[in-house]
């Protein structure tokens, strides 16, 4: 990110057309209302499922004493993982000076905010005594990784929200007066949120400085959230979790899931909002290459995670790996590894597959595979404890998620989608001022 903003773009005629383009989809449309109605009705069904769980206890799930962490924890890890992409796109690539991330950065931040915000709720859905959540703050023991997780996830959420909001302020100010097609309350919301922004060079200077600080601070925070999340499993003695590379293994996996989520949203913005002028084939091409890169790094950690114990075959590791490779979870395991990792890497090496539609399809598959990957990390390990499972009801031997459990999990996903929908539809999804500034800058360069 440049250290100074040339506010000349504000006088440029093209600002008008850019603003018009980007603001066209903003507002309450019929499609939005139908979609939100659908989401909210579905969500209320999921909330009812949670009410049943609240009332009857976790007996309504497939969880029992052996597999006592299941879909909820897998879902939690998936949420934290996906939210990490905000840091990757805005901070890592942004600070390295890659200009092509500019129109994508806000999409990535929205995904970060939505998934980090809901992650906290996901973990509450797994608690046997959710009403005792305040105990974590009242009686918290700093030795417990859960406390570290609560701290860093909250910090990450705050930083991501700031990183979404601060660069949005100039856009809100630009949008004022160009929002004739939207309802009054939305216009006054813009008025309030734009905090009297008046586009002075001084203001832009402060904005750039604070964003830069946030971009730097969020890198260790993001590393921390997913590393600590991996430690929830890695600090135990169980085969399959007892691994020293779980931190980087989770982190690199997170970038795969998050990049896929960004591509899905990019495709949506490009086709539905007709913003193909801003999210060009070039952007998809670059995201495709990024997806290959992060997938290759993740593949490297997968090889480490599975090949090394498979070579030694310690008793407990052998049982665990057999279950994954040829046992009960083999079909899920190989589908996830092939569809979610190997095939995308191979396909995306070809330029044809880095076009929007193929990219979109591949990313949907990658994201679904990423969810099941977390399921495979969480569940099979507990299926095979050190000591034999005996003298328990048959239902306790194998974990089978129930409908209620699945509905609650769907509910958390719906909630994230609702947040994403609101932020996508009510606020400019591509930074107007950055686009305009970039065009002016390009003109200067070409003139020189």
């Amino acid at each position: 990110m440049a250290s100074e903003v040339n506010t000349g773009f504000l006088l440029d005629k093209r600002l008008d057309s850019i603003a018009t383009d980007i603001l066209r989809p903003v507002g309450i449309s019929k499609g939005f209302l139908v979609w939100m109605g659908f989401l909210l009705v579905s969500l209320s069904g999921c909330i009812y499922a949670y009410y049943i769980q609240w009332d009857k206890g976790l007996i309504v799930t497939g969880l029992r004493d052996y597999v006592s962490w299941g879909m909820y924890i897998a879902n939690f890890i998936f949420f934290v993982a996906t939210s990490l992409v905000g840091m990757l796109i805005s901070s890592v690539l942004g600070l390295m000076g890659f200009k092509w991330v500019k129109p994508i950065a806000r999409i990535a931040e929205i995904i970060a905010v939505a998934f980090a915000a809901v992650a906290g709720l996901v973990i509450v859905s797994d608690m046997g005594r959710p009403e005792r959540l305040p105990y974590v703050f009242m009686y918290g023991r700093i030795q417990s990784p859960i406390l570290w997780d609560v701290t860093v996830v909250t910090t990450y959420l705050v930083l991501s929200t700031l990183l979404y909001f601060i660069p949005l302020i100039p856009d809100l100010a630009i949008s004022k007066g160009r929002m004739g097609h939207t309802p009054k309350w939305l216009q006054s919301t813009y008025e309030v949120l734009s905090v009297n922004w008046s586009h002075t060079p001084q203001q832009y200077k402060i904005l750039l400085k604070s964003v830069r600080i946030l971009l730097i601070v969020i890198i260790p925070t993001a590393f921390a959230i997913h590393t600590v999340t991996s430690w929830l499993l890695a600090v135990t003695l169980r085969p399959g979790w007892d691994s020293s590379i779980f931190g980087p293994y989770f982190l690199t996996g997170a970038f795969v899931a998050g990049s896929a989520a960004v591509v899905i949203m990019m495709y949506f913005v490009r086709t539905n909002y007709k913003l193909d002028k801003y999210l060009t084939l070039y952007h998809f091409d670059m995201m495709g290459k990024l997806l290959v890169l992060v997938s290759l790094v993740y593949l490297y950690f997968n090889i480490n995670e599975f090949l090394v114990p498979a070579f030694k075959l310690k008793t407990a590791d052998a049982i665990h790996l057999k279950e994954l490779f040829v046992g009960e979870y083999a079909s899920m395991f190989w589908s996830v590894q092939l569809l979610g990792l190997i095939f995308p890497i191979i396909l995306l090496l070809f330029k044809f597959f880095r076009k929007p539609l193929p990219m979109f399809i591949i990313s949907v598959v990658v994201l679904i595979a990423a969810w099941f990957k977390r399921y495979l990390i969480v569940v099979p390990t507990q299926q095979n404890p050190f000591l034999p499972k005996q003298y328990v009801p048959d239902a306790w031997m194998v974990y089978q998620p129930t409908v209620i459990e699945t509905a609650i999990t769907m509910g958390t996903i719906l909630l994230a989608v609702i947040i994403i929908t609101v932020l996508f539809k009510l606020f400019p999804v591509i930074p107007i001022w950055e686009m305009a500034e970039e065009q002016c800058e390009n003109d200067h360069k070409s003139q020189e």
């Binding site: 206890g57 052996y66 009686y139 023991r141 990784p145 600090v235 000591l387 005996q390």
Partner: protein, 322 residues
């Protein structure tokens, strides 16, 4: 007395000074009156004090730290053991003890009496185990045997390390307990325990209706609570009374020894004979379960050698009881 005084006065005032002797009489009379009044008041207040004082019928009482003391009978007050008092005592533990259990695998015939005694005391369902007996076989060539498996009460407990709210804790006497008034139900401890020793109340506990309103005894973990973790407590409520744990006393086959590492003594729950712990472990080759994990258990096992009975796998028949 006054007469005597008068005569003394007379002798002193020999010249018969009437006025003087009358004055002296009144003076003395007043003094005596004052003394008498004061004395009376003192006696009366003393009587009143004695009346208000409790009678000194003394009773011998054994305090919690094992001192024998005497207290007046009527000063004894019944303290209602409420949840917080039980929690305070339960978290403190029994001073000066380091409890250990020794399980002799050569004697276990899977009578499962330990299990039912435990489940009865702790209000658990037939498939909810603080202690369970497992069929073990190290490899196809080695003989199968039965292994009772309670919580190992590790000295380096992985469950305690991960608890976010200090609900599960290690006491000074070596026992690992769980406070179900504190537990948030995250089940991190279940994930962390390599011995699968902990269980969770997925639904309303067996006797939650009957136990309603009872103060929570942390050393018995009753009333059990939905949405919280429960586990073997080494029957710490029985240890407080100087008794052996429920499972140990219930065993018909002499499998269990229980005692105090500090005293180097363990008592067999069936024969009630006491043995030297170090000697028992040395002679019989005592060992820990999965010592390579570094959990430092407080439960020892004696190997299943020289068994005088045939091993019968009764899992299928037992299953119907569950």
């Amino acid at each position: 007395m006054s007469n005597n005084n008068n005569s003394t006065d007379d002798r002193i005032n020999s010249e018969g000074e009437d006025k003087n002797s009358r004055r002296a009489f009144f003076k003395n009379f007043g003094l005596i009156g004052a003394v008498a009044a004061a004395g009376g008041a003192a006696i009366y207040s003393g009587y009143k004090y004695e009346e208000s004082k409790p009678n000194h019928d003394m009773v011998k009482v054994l305090t919690a730290d094992n001192r024998l003391v005497e207290v007046p009978r009527d000063q004894i007050k019944d303290i209602k053991l409420d949840t917080s008092e039980l929690q305070r005592k339960g978290r403190e533990g029994l001073k000066g003890h380091r409890f250990v259990m020794v399980i002799d695998l050569s004697k276990c015939r899977n009578a499962r009496k330990c299990i039912s005694a435990c489940q009865g005391a702790h209000h658990l369902r037939p498939y909810e185990y603080h202690i369970n007996t497992l069929v073990m076989q190290e490899s196809p060539e080695t003989a199968p045997y039965y292994m009772p498996k309670p919580c190992q009460h590790c000295d380096n407990p992985p469950c305690v390390a991960v608890c976010p709210v200090n609900a599960t804790f290690k006491r000074q006497d070596g026992i690992v307990l769980i406070d179900n008034e504190r537990c948030i139900g995250c089940r991190f401890c279940i994930a962390a325990c390599p011995y699968s020793a902990r269980l969770f109340h997925w639904e309303e506990p067996l006797m939650s209706e009957a136990d309603k309103g009872k103060p929570y005894n942390i050393e018995l973990n009753v009333p059990q609570k939905k949405g919280t973790v429960t586990k073997c407590l080494f029957s710490s409520d029985r240890l407080r009374e100087g008794k052996l744990p429920y499972c140990v006393s219930a065993c018909p086959n002499g499998v269990y020894y229980f005692g105090d590492e500090n005293q180097d003594a363990v008592t067999n729950g069936t024969t009630k004979e006491t043995y030297r712990l170090s000697e028992l472990l040395r002679v019989n080759g005592g060992y820990h379960l999965m010592p390579e994990l570094g959990t430092k258990p407080r439960v020892f096992y004696l190997p299943p050698k020289n068994r005088l009975f045939e091993f019968k796998d009764t899992r299928d028949q037992d299953k119907e009881k569950i």
